[in-house]
């Protein structure tokens, strides 16, 4: 007799646990409001990434097309993957002194691991992370970016 009770207990206990599980899934089936899926390409307009999101390295330019980079190459030295290349040129000033100036700031997105060291070490805060995350391109060459805009120059006040 005990064996039969044991058997039935096992049976109904098992069925009960199964029903508990079905209750959970059933709840979500009848509560479509719980769905949290984001409809990505549609919500592009309203989608806002967090301020600190590490999308890609970028160099902010002000309205006069001026940036803050002094071409000191600290970011290049600190980058663990060699994804930054700072090319500088020597310019002669009015007073005859030679001065190093940024020529091209090459950023290889394909090699970047988003560790954020370059931005942390930059003494001028010339580079920041921008929030763009749609990096997919058809050509790998497009991932090599020049961060300073053509014709841009160094912002006055950070010069010495």
């Amino acid at each position: 007799m005990n064996a039969i009770i044991e058997y039935l207990k096992e049976l109904f206990g098992g069925i009960k646990t199964l029903l508990t599980g079905m209750k959970v899934t059933g709840y979500y089936f009848v509560h479509p409001k719980e769905i949290t899926t984001q409809q990505y390409p549609e919500n592009r307009k309203t989608l806002k990434m967090f301020d600190r999101f590490k999308g890609e390295v970028s160099m902010p330019h002000d309205e006069n097309n001026q940036h803050k980079c002094t071409a000191c190459s600290i970011c290049e030295i600190n980058c663990p993957n060699g994804s930054i290349e700072v090319i500088s040129r020597q310019v002669e000033k009015e007073d005859g002194k030679k001065k190093k100036e940024l020529d091209t700031y090459i950023y290889k997105l394909s090699m970047c691991t988003f560790c954020g060291i370059c931005i942390k070490v930059c003494p001028q805060d010339a580079i920041v992370f921008s929030q763009g995350f749609e990096h997919a391109v058809y050509n790998k060459e497009k991932l090599i970016k020049t961060l300073n805009k053509p014709g841009s120059s160094l912002k006055e006040k950070v010069k010495e």
Partner: protein, 374 residues
């Protein structure tokens, strides 16, 4: 494939060898398990790793200590923050820098959030290994909340690289505390659902109870740590036994189970989620004011000597061994990854069980393959 074994009657039998992986849904990555089968029963398992070996230790020999941190993310990507912290703690200890209390508190909170996120993902994947596909989406849904917290404060969802020697890259986001609190309230409601859906389920119990038993002695001998080891009763929680950061200031229980089967490994992890929430609750209101980082020299050189730092990653004990010659690069760095040791025990655990059990055992060990291969 042409391997023969001789059975008791002296007759030669062909072994039925199945390669599970490198592409297989339940190895969670590029691990290859060479399994000798007899019917459905697993006779012997031979793990073949190295499919995602990147030579991180070699790469680190050419990187400064700040730069090493971002590579530690990429070993156990599910406990990225904890791995970062290990290197930072090692450097701080070696240079005898006392980091601000604020940093310690926040590190501990982020550690536990990482652990929670990792265990949530494990729970998803474990359910899937057993064939309950719905668990995956529930777990990921809840994990999303933690990832949002990470994203807001650290700027990345998975590979944060938020720690630097001496503190953090940045201070926590103003919303951080509120978000964490909201999450705890939310997750305290959702976690019982996990139990209802999977833990209590009779099929799940049948599938895991008394399956893949790892005795305490074997757990210690194989160095199976983390919840997998604690499921066997191995008191190996580094947070408890060698406290770092703010773990000495919080009350929490080291979750210990005794049987060492898949179910107890499972329970240990689920319990740990509760404990993690407890730890976060104790700290979140008391984050002291202060700096988020100590000013460090731009070039860090560790004094000559050997250093070792242990932390409790989500899957077990994570260790960093550094042999320094006083240069800015480490002469030799070794990462003791928990999964590597946990994997080594798989033959011991799973031999003699069915092939379906092997999947359950693999799930309960919660292996992360890049952490094995490094």
């Amino acid at each position: 494939m042409e391997e023969f074994i001789t059975n008791s009657k002296g007759k030669q039998e062909e072994e039925y060898i199945v390669n599970m992986g490198p592409q297989h849904p339940s190895t969670h990555g590029v691990l290859r398990l060479k399994i000798s089968l007899k019917g459905e029963t697993v006779e012997r398992i031979e793990p073949h790793c190295g499919y995602i070996h990147r030579g991180i230790e070699k790469m680190c020999e050419r990187l400064t200590y700040q730069q090493i941190i971002h590579l530690t993310d990429r070993m156990d990507y599910l406990s990225a923050h904890i791995n970062n912290e290990a290197v930072c703690l090692l450097v701080e200890d070696a240079l005898q820098i006392e980091v601000p209390e604020r940093v310690k508190y926040i590190r501990t909170i982020l550690d536990e959030l990482t652990r929670l996120a990792s265990h949530q993902l494990w729970w998803c994947a474990f359910g899937m290994d057993l064939g309950a596909l719905t668990t995956y989406f529930y777990g990921l849904r809840d994990r999303e909340h933690i990832l949002d917290i990470f994203e807001e404060t650290t700027g990345a969802r998975l590979l944060q690289s938020f720690n630097v020697p001496g503190g953090f890259m940045n201070d926590i986001h103003p919303n951080f505390i509120k978000r964490v609190k909201d999450f705890i309230v939310y997750f305290r409601k959702k976690l019982p659902e996990y139990d209802e859906l999977l833990t209590g389920n009779v099929i799940m119990k049948e599938r895991t109870n008394d399956i893949g038993i790892l005795s305490l002695e074997d757990a210690i001998s194989y160095g199976v740590t983390g919840p997998s080891g604690r499921g066997s009763g191995f008191a190996c929680d580094v947070r408890k036994h060698h406290p770092y950061s703010a773990y000495d200031k919080v009350e929490f229980r080291e979750v210990l189970y005794t049987k060492g089967d898949s179910f107890h490994r499972y329970k240990a992890r689920v319990e740990e989620m509760w404990e993690s929430m407890k730890i976060i609750e104790q700290l979140i209101d008391n984050i002291p004011e202060g700096d988020y980082a100590v000013k460090m020299k731009p070039i860090i050189k560790l004094p000559e000597g050997e250093y070792y730092q242990r932390v409790e990653a989500a899957r077990g004990e994570f260790g960093v061994y550094v042999l320094s010659t006083g240069e800015k690069y480490p002469y030799r760095i070794k990462f003791r990854s928990p999964n590597f040791s946990n994997l080594s025990a798989i033959n011991k655990i799973a031999a003699g069980f069915k092939i379906a059990d092997l999947v359950a055992i693999g799930g309960s060990l919660d292996l992360v393959i890049p952490d094995i291969d490094r």
